[in-house]
């Protein structure tokens, strides 16, 4: 299934009446199937909100989001779940503390009535670089990196074609970050996944993404190819400033 994502005039406001806060005034961008698309910007610029809108975790937005040419609102819930999945920022909060890995991974299989639970679980656990004996562990028996791998396994077990990554490495130690990023790169190559990835870190974008959008106050200021990072080819002043600051920081290291 192709899963090119097209977002037009996505806007959302929280609260009602005069107290309403418009978080996204109008976001428009599109992502090719098989592409890794980055969303960067400072805290509170609405990056994560965009992901929550695409995944319908927040469903009171206006505008249109299409995945594979189909309006996301028209896709039935279960089908939508097999089309897109999300990996959350904090692996300490995204796994149910009282559910073993087995329960975490078999729940989606039961909901969708899929067969061969044991085989599917073993395959996906091996795919994320863990051994099968992790199946009976609980979250508190694993490290942060291992938890995030399980969270990725949970997202992959329904074999979606679009993966929404909400700062998947920012809660992890630097050395573990690299492992998880390499894992994500490998999985995309193997499975032909489409990624939309939220991050603060331009180095992550440089490592993984084909293109990226710079967001400011809920608006996309500019969509740039990865090659624009080296030498700072951005035209919008904020995007230039952001990339410049990042390059300066890297240079200082």
């Amino acid at each position: 299934m192709t899963s090119n994502v097209d977002i037009r005039d996505l806007s959302i406001s929280f609260g009602e009446g005069p107290a309403a806060v418009k978080v996204l005034p109008g976001v428009t961008f599109s992502v090719e199937a098989g592409e890794c698309f980055g969303l960067v910007g400072e805290s509170g610029s609405g990056k994560s909100t965009v992901l929550r809108c695409i995944s319908m975790l927040t469903d009171f937005w206006q505008g249109s989001i299409t995945v594979g040419g189909r309006d996301i609102r028209q896709i039935p819930r279960l089908e939508r779940c097999r089309l897109l999945q999300m990996v959350f920022q904090d692996p300490y909060g995204s796994l149910h503390p009282r559910q073993s890995v087995r329960t975490t991974l078999s729940e989606p299989l039961k909901i969708h009535g899929l067969d061969d639970h044991e085989g599917r679980m073993r395959r996906v656990i091996r795919d994320v670089g863990l051994t099968a004996d992790f199946i009976d562990r609980f979250p508190h028996q694993m490290s942060g990196g291992q938890r995030q791998r399980i969270a990725i396994a949970r997202a992959l077990i329904l074999e979606p074609s679009l993966l929404l990554l909400d700062e998947p490495t920012s809660a992890l130690d630097v050395s573990v970050q690299a492992e998880i990023l390499n894992l994500l790169v490998r999985l995309r190559e193997e499975r032909g996944l489409t990624y939309i990835m939220v991050t603060h870190d331009l180095a992550v974008v440089d490592h993984m993404c084909d293109r990226f959008a710079v967001m400011l106050h809920g608006e996309v200021t500019e969509v740039l190819p990865r090659t624009a990072i080296d030498g700072n080819h951005a035209t919008h002043p904020y995007a230039r400033e952001l990339i410049g600051a990042s390059l300066e920081y890297e240079g200082a290291l």
């Binding site: 995944s55 975790l57 819930r77 999300m86 959350f88 009282r98 067969d115």
Partner: protein, 299 residues
């Protein structure tokens, strides 16, 4: 379906792990003297109730009018009451009644409070408001008075007392479960469950309830002490168990008339009520420490 086959090893794996959990909890409870006391008293109570016919020295209903109001000793461990019935035997048989009340009230109150609370807490919005206002109405009545009203309407009997107690005991549990559910509903693992296509009901039962279960269990255990006291209170007022049933509260009620001369008529049932409700309170306190995920799943 093939699902069945893959579920087989899963079930086989699960049994020992839940046994390990139970063993860990019991072990933890036994380590602290107060909760160990609670556990032992309740274990004794269950044993006494189960083997009542063998432990009791007399028939609890057998009257011996030649032998009324006899002081403890002389073949009657705790003496006899105004109809010459053996008080020790009546206490032993009465433990069955107390356990029945506790058991029935708990299995009614626990699920009702849990379902109302978690649903209101997870769904939020108007449903939450409506459900919690209903809970507030029940909560605003003093429970003994409400039980009295129910029993007065339905007629005095043990079953009606159980219904009345159950109707008044669920609101605090619903409140607790709601408060817990509200802290978990925004968690990422709930969002992940929604993304996997889990229905609201599935999320409530599979994700929210396990998180609320420990605090609800603790509350339920602490509640059992209140249940015993309320049941004894209703029995004392003549609205619970009816004579000649050997219910502890009812025994105190009838013994009250002879209290000045025959202290044993009220003392021993009173001590039984005190000990058992104290045991439940101590056990509830101990469970609060024991029911924490790291404690439960340690291998």
């Amino acid at each position: 379906m093939t699902v069945k086959d893959t579920d087989m090893p899963r079930q086989a794996m699960k049994m020992p792990s839940s046994l390990i959990v139970l063993r860990n909890i019991l072990g933890f409870l036994m380590r602290s003297p107060t909760s160990a006391f609670g556990l032992i008293v309740l274990g004794l109570l269950i044993v006494i109730a189960a083997f009542a016919p063998w432990i009791a020295t007399h028939d609890p209903y057998a009257q011996d009018l030649a032998n009324t109001l006899q002081a403890p000793g002389n073949g009657h461990l705790f003496g006899t009451d105004e109809l010459g019935r053996d008080i020790f035997s009546r206490l032993v048989w009465g433990s069955r009644i107390s356990l029945t009340i506790i058991f029935l009230v708990s299995i009614v109150v626990g699920p009702i409070g849990m379902i109302v609370g978690t649903t209101a807490g997870y769904m939020g919005g108007r449903l939450d408001t409506v459900m919690m206002r209903i809970t507030d109405i029940f909560l605003s009545f003093p429970s003994l008075i409400l039980s009295l009203a129910f029993v007065a309407a339905l007629g005095p009997s043990l079953n009606n007392a159980i219904i009345a107690i159950a109707l008044t005991a669920w609101p605090p549990i619903a409140r607790l479960a709601r408060a817990e559910a509200m802290t978990f509903r925004k968690a990422d693992y709930i969002a992940a469950a929604r993304l996997q296509g889990a229905s609201d009901m599935r999320i409530i039962f599979k994700s929210i309830m396990p998180m609320c279960l420990p605090s609800v269990l603790i509350r339920l255990t602490l509640n059992m002490a209140t249940v015993i006291l309320t049941a004894a209170g209703l029995g004392f007022l003549g609205l619970g168990a009816q004579p000649p049933m050997p219910e502890w509260g009812a025994m105190i009620a009838t013994g009250r008339r002879y209290m000045i001369d025959s202290w044993w008529l009220v003392t021993f049932p009173g001590l039984a009520i005190l000990t058992v409700s104290l045991a439940f309170n101590l056990l509830g306190d101990g469970l609060r420490d024991a029911l924490d995920p790291k404690q439960m799943n340690r291998r």
